[in-house]
């Protein structure tokens, strides 16, 4: 029977007391931040906030202490993540490093790389970007062409990465390059590198998104030099490693909570005694929200148990991003208020932000179609 393995996961009591601490911290740290600002969800970038979170021991939570980690459980980490997301905390200065770059180094990095980078990530001092996509390689990631040729003491890199979120304000980008061209075998000859974004030969050009924001970039490499000791894992093993990294990328609660601010604003707008239509909408959204949280928690439970919930994570991301995208549509269908930018009520501005950003939810981190392909493979269809 091809069904996925979602077991109920109950949070242990230590995770619940941690929740209270995190909530208290966030209440103080975020102060009176407006709803439309919190709606940025994990898009907000604030190094000071990340440093403070790191000082509390809430970054790199599961890593060994000798690398600056805190040896806490996957479920405790889960609680911190979901509280940050629900509060709309500006987590993006540490999010990628905590979620994928750090764990990648822990698994594949050299001892020296771990000692050099992990403690600083855990302190919230290092921001990482993801250098995967290229102008001609999106979903078909294995077709990337940016070349890293071995030279004396390192690699010379030429090519272009694109859609590199926060490259202009980050310190490093874990990047996937082609170290060897193997004809007709595009998955071979790929390697991952730790790239210092301040290196000579790297030019970062902004790409403005449809809402006028600058968070994407195009990153050009022109004879940029990456030293040997910045190779991550084995040369030529990039594809296997990047698959692991993508699994880290997909498994968290950020794949269903992006629009929670709008649900809250809707509840506020509808009032304590809402009309029937509004109540039905609120009830339905709540049912979806709770169910997705249980599914996401279940994935965290599997991680905690040392299992490999790649398929389940893909399912949560597919169902979750569909839900995130549906919320602004549902709000529009219910009330038809005009989404607004700088003016208007918090409700209208939150709607304005989410209507415009929702299309990206099912693109970033692997498109809906790619995820459904993964799920279909899990069902034995391909």
């Amino acid at each position: 029977m091809p069904t996925f393995n979602f077991d109920l996961c109950e949070l242990p009591s230590e995770a619940q007391s941690l929740r209270a601490e995190v909530r208290e911290f966030l209440r103080e740290a975020l102060g009176g931040a407006s709803s439309s600002k919190r709606a940025l969800s994990w898009g907000g970038f604030d190094r000071e906030f990340s440093r403070r979170l790191g000082a509390r021991g809430w970054i790199g939570m599961m890593w060994p202490k000798k690398y600056g980690g805190h040896e806490r459980t996957a479920l405790e980490r889960y609680v911190v993540l979901e509280e940050c997301l629900a509060a709309g905390a500006p987590v993006s200065a540490h999010w990628v490093a905590d979620r994928q770059s750090g764990p990648l180094l822990l698994r594949f990095g050299t001892e020296e790389q771990r000692q050099r980078f992990l403690p600083r990530i855990a302190k919230g001092e290092l921001a990482f970007a993801i250098g995967m996509s290229e102008p001609d390689s999106g979903s078909d990631l294995a077709s990337i062409r940016t070349r890293a040729e071995h030279v004396e003491g390192g690699y010379r890199v030429n090519g272009t990465k694109i859609w590199t979120s926060n490259a202009h304000i980050s310190d490093y980008a874990i990047s996937l390059f082609r170290t060897k061209v193997v004809p007709d075998k595009k998955h071979e000859g790929l390697s991952q590198f730790l790239v210092d974004l301040k290196s000579p030969g790297i030019r970062i050009r902004p790409i403005i998104d449809l809402a006028g924001g600058h968070h994407f970039n195009e990153v050009h490499f022109e004879n940029a030099f990456v030293p040997d000791d910045m190779l991550v894992g084995k040369e030529g093993e990039g594809w296997r490693q990047v698959s692991t990294e993508l699994a880290f990328e997909r498994s968290g609660p950020e794949r269903y909570l992006s629009s929670i601010r709008l649900i809250m604003e809707l509840i506020r707008e509808a009032g304590r005694e809402p009309g029937e239509r509004a109540a039905v909408v609120i009830g339905r959204l709540t049912a979806h929200l709770i169910t997705l949280r249980q599914m996401s928690l279940s994935v965290a439970g599997m991680l905690q148990a040392g299992q490999n919930p790649n398929l389940e994570a893909a399912v949560v991301k597919d169902v979750g991003t569909g839900f995130e995208q549906e919320i602004p549509e549902t709000v529009h269908a219910l009330l038809g208020v005009e989404p607004r930018l700088g003016s208007g009520s918090q409700f209208e501005r939150t709607l304005g932000y989410l209507v415009q950003h929702a299309p990206s939810f099912s693109l970033r981190g692997g498109t809906r179609e790619v995820l459904r392909g993964i799920i279909a493979r899990g069902l034995g269809l391909r």
Binding site: V280, T291, Q294
Partner: protein
């Protein structure tokens, strides 16, 4: 009992159910049940295996297990479209036990199954007599006893009556499961005690249907995957077409969500549900909404993937899809429960949303 032990026992329980239903619930049995034949042999096996009262205390005649055990049985029964009042017997048995009454053997049902009908008890010497009419009572004609939620001078009571004391006006749901109107005129009451209000019956019904539907969705997914890997068109199996793969990935997502929602509600029943559904009512509403929505979408996808053959009586797909179309409306559809849930969430206010749902 540790959760690990509980989980292992539930795996055994699931195997027992699956083995029994796979062997016994054949298309022939389902067809004959649809024509009105009571599958007595199957009932006896289900009862002997302790599957009808898993969560009822042993002291009252049950198996002494948990709601999570009940979840396993109902999901498996839903997956196999078992044409028996297992859910109704479970609910009725639990209500009796909860009210301090003994649970009789044999199939039970519950009444009223609609929020709008009221049944009343009248004192008669040391006992009671029952009056009133209840439409769409599941398996009404075939139950041996009916567990009714009735009022005695405005006080909520649970009463046990023999079904033979009711006038039966037969009707069915889309899956030709009996949904009969039962009418009582001063009918003899076997036993009665003060109990929960009739609305609890409605909640239990929603809970049970959520698990049955989640099981039905598992069947649709498995059956659809099987079909598209066997059927070829354009010289290749349907499973090799991306459009089909993506539809089934979507069905898998809804099936997983439905399963999670139902499982969560049963888990909360175990954690907080003893006697009072005030607490789990929230999760029951969540489950009925989420599973009901998945049921409609899932039935659509499964039929699309099966083409015309799935639209025939000959093919077994409809034993599940017709049930889903009825069950999602029974004991309150998505709109009913969304309204309830939405009002509750709104009354607490926006800032309470997240704290409330993480406190559970």
């Amino acid at each position: 009992m540790s959760t690990r032990e509980g989980k292992e026992l539930r795996t055994i329980l699931a195997d027992t159910c699956t083995r029994l239903f796979t062997a016994q619930v054949t298309p022939q049995l389902q067809e004959s049940a649809e024509k009105g034949t009571w599958p007595e042999a199957l009932w006896r096996q289900v009862e002997e295996n302790g599957l009808t009262l898993p969560q009822v205390p042993e002291s009252r005649g049950g198996a002494g297990g948990s709601w999570s055990d009940a979840h396993v049985v109902l999901t498996t029964a839903g997956r196999h479209a078992v044409p028996l009042p297992i859910a109704e017997t479970m609910m009725g048995g639990w209500l009796l036990a909860q009210s301090g009454l003994d649970v009789p053997m044999g199939p039970l049902t519950v009444a009223p199954s609609s929020l709008h009908s009221r049944l009343t008890l009248a004192r008669d010497g040391n006992g009671f007599r029952l009056d009133g009419s209840a439409p769409r009572v599941p398996w009404g004609r075939q139950a041996e006893h009916v567990v009714v939620a009735a009022e005695d001078e405005g006080r909520p009571m649970i009463a046990l009556v023999a079904r033979s004391g009711a006038a039966v006006d037969e009707d069915v749901n889309l899956a030709l499961e009996p949904r009969d109107t039962l009418t009582w005129h001063a009918a003899t009451v076997v036993a009665a005690a003060s109990g929960p209000p009739a609305s609890m019956l409605w909640q239990l019904g929603a809970l049970a249907r959520a698990a049955q539907m989640a099981g039905g969705l598992e069947y649709l997914l498995a059956q659809s995957v099987k079909y598209v890997t066997e059927r070829s068109q354009f010289g290749r199996t349907l499973s090799s077409f991306q459009a089909i793969q993506h539809q089934l990935a979507l069905l898998a997502g809804h099936t997983a969500a439905a399963g999670m929602a139902a499982q969560h509600a049963f888990g909360v029943m175990d954690a907080r549900g003893a006697g009072n559904l005030g607490e789990p009512a929230f999760e029951i509403a969540v489950a009925k909404i989420r599973v009901g929505e998945a049921a409609g979408l899932g039935a659509g996808i499964a039929h699309q993937c099966h083409g015309a053959i799935g639209f025939t009586y000959e093919h077994s797909l409809h034993f599940v899809t017709r049930r889903l179309w009825s069950w999602r409306a029974e004991f309150g559809g998505e709109s009913h429960w969304s309204l309830e849930l939405g009002r509750e969430v709104a009354a607490r206010g926006a800032e309470a949303l997240w704290p409330h749902l993480t406190s559970r």
